[in-house]
């Protein structure tokens, strides 16, 4: 949305939310597969939850927002405009980096350039997987930015992102997915037992959410149309 655009009146009914959930479910499924391949660990994800939000408390997003966490933020541009945030607990950051680097990782507040670069690559893999998954449903090409990696308390990370979104959009649509690393074989997703070690959020402004809904409606209409 440009600075001159009139304020968008946000709305998101249950049908819209279901539609966005299905769209993003395809995306995050691809992303988790890519991340599993990249890390050589079993990565499972929850079914996305979708909500229209403004200011939220970090506890609404993270169970322990005061703990130091690792955040990877990417911006999407093009057919899908918004931000993707990956946020991992300290244990998960160490787990991922030790898997990728093969050496023990100490305090995540003192990551070196290589380790930060590895986290950026995790962001690239997940974002690329997501865009690859939902790409066929978008009428144009979406591209991702270079990932921004920040280590800090989860509350500071979430509050800063919320401030940026409220500044830009007033309200925004948040799509929230829990990520489990090395979940048991019989656990399909994080729900129902294992604590999530990471979260994936997709934040869309109202206009971007409308655009995504438009793409999926067009796709569904096309799929339902009689073949001749």
């Amino acid at each position: 949305m440009s600075d001159q655009s009139p304020a968008h009146t946000p709305s998101l009914d249950s049908v819209d939310a279901d539609q966005l959930r299905e769209l993003l479910n395809i995306g995050v499924s691809h992303a988790s597969t890519k991340l599993s391949q990249f890390t050589n660990h079993r990565i499972t994800i929850s079914v996305p939850t979708v909500g229209l939000q403004s200011v939220v408390h970090p506890h609404d997003y993270l169970p322990n927002p005061e703990e130091v966490s690792g955040a990877i933020l990417l911006r999407f541009n093009g057919a899908l405009e918004g931000f993707m945030l990956l946020i991992f607990t300290e244990i998960a950051v160490r787990h991922l980096l030790e898997s990728l680097g093969g050496t023990p990782v100490g305090d995540i507040r003192t990551l070196d350039d290589y380790q930060r670069s590895a986290l950026q690559e995790v962001g690239n893999i997940v974002a690329g997987g997501m865009l690859g998954g939902i790409g066929p449903l978008l009428s144009g090409k979406a591209v991702q930015s270079v990932p921004d990696v920040v280590i800090d308390s989860g509350a500071s990370l979430i509050n800063s992102i919320v401030a940026g979104l409220v500044h830009a959009h007033g309200h925004y649509v948040a799509i929230d997915v829990s990520i489990c690393v090395d979940a048991r074989e019989d656990v399909v997703a994080c729900e129902g037992g294992d604590p999530a070690l990471g979260r994936l959020f997709l934040f869309l402004g109202p206009d971007a959410a409308d655009a995504a809904l438009g793409f999926t409606r067009a796709y569904l209409d096309h799929a339902k149309s009689p073949r001749v």
């Binding site: 200011v55 939220v56 509050n159 309200h171």
Partner: protein, 166 residues
């Protein structure tokens, strides 16, 4: 016995020497602390954006979470100063005696920022300007940088502790 009051993002609380106000996860937001050292009355506001008059969405209200008694919503740094002054005066404080502290205004994510300065910088500037307009001196500030902060404000002493996690 000291009563601990947690102020969350976009909230404000004013109390007396019985209170210690804490707020956590201060990134690009600005935390404004005002204190009357004679009456030991003070308050803390955790504002998220700079100026109401310049905001794209100045009128959107918050409904995301319920709020405890004695607190109220505050979105902008400039309105935070006026609300704090009003609430402190309503408890017997005097504007002429008030001193201010500022915490926050960091630049956590370069990707989020609309310009080269960032929301954190603008938040800090807005708070400074509004405090100057009210004639309230800034005693100290811990602002800018790239790290998040937690704040603990003891209204019995006026001391504010600033804690970082990195």
């Amino acid at each position: 016995m000291t009563r601990i009051v947690e102020v969350r993002i976009a909230e404000l609380f004013v109390g007396n020497e019985e209170h210690t106000i804490v707020t956590n996860g201060v990134g690009s937001c600005i935390v404004v602390l005002l204190y009357d050292p004679i009456m030991k009355i003070g308050g803390l506001a955790h504002a998220i954006l700079p100026r109401k008059t310049e905001a794209r969405y100045p009128t959107i209200e918050f409904a995301a979470h319920s709020m405890d008694a004695g607190k109220r919503f505050v979105k902008f740094a400039d309105e935070a100063v006026g609300l704090l002054v009003d609430d402190i005066e309503s408890l017997g404080g005097k504007r002429a005696r008030m001193i201010a502290k500022l915490v926050g205004g960091a630049r956590m994510f370069s990707l989020l920022e609309a310009d080269k300065y960032g929301i954190g910088y603008h938040n800090t500037e807005a708070a400074r300007a509004e405090l100057a307009r009210f004639g309230i001196p800034i005693e100290t500030e811990v602002t800018g940088g790239t790290v998040g902060r937690n704040v603990r404000f003891d209204l019995a002493t006026g001391i504010a502790e600033v804690i970082t996690k990195v």
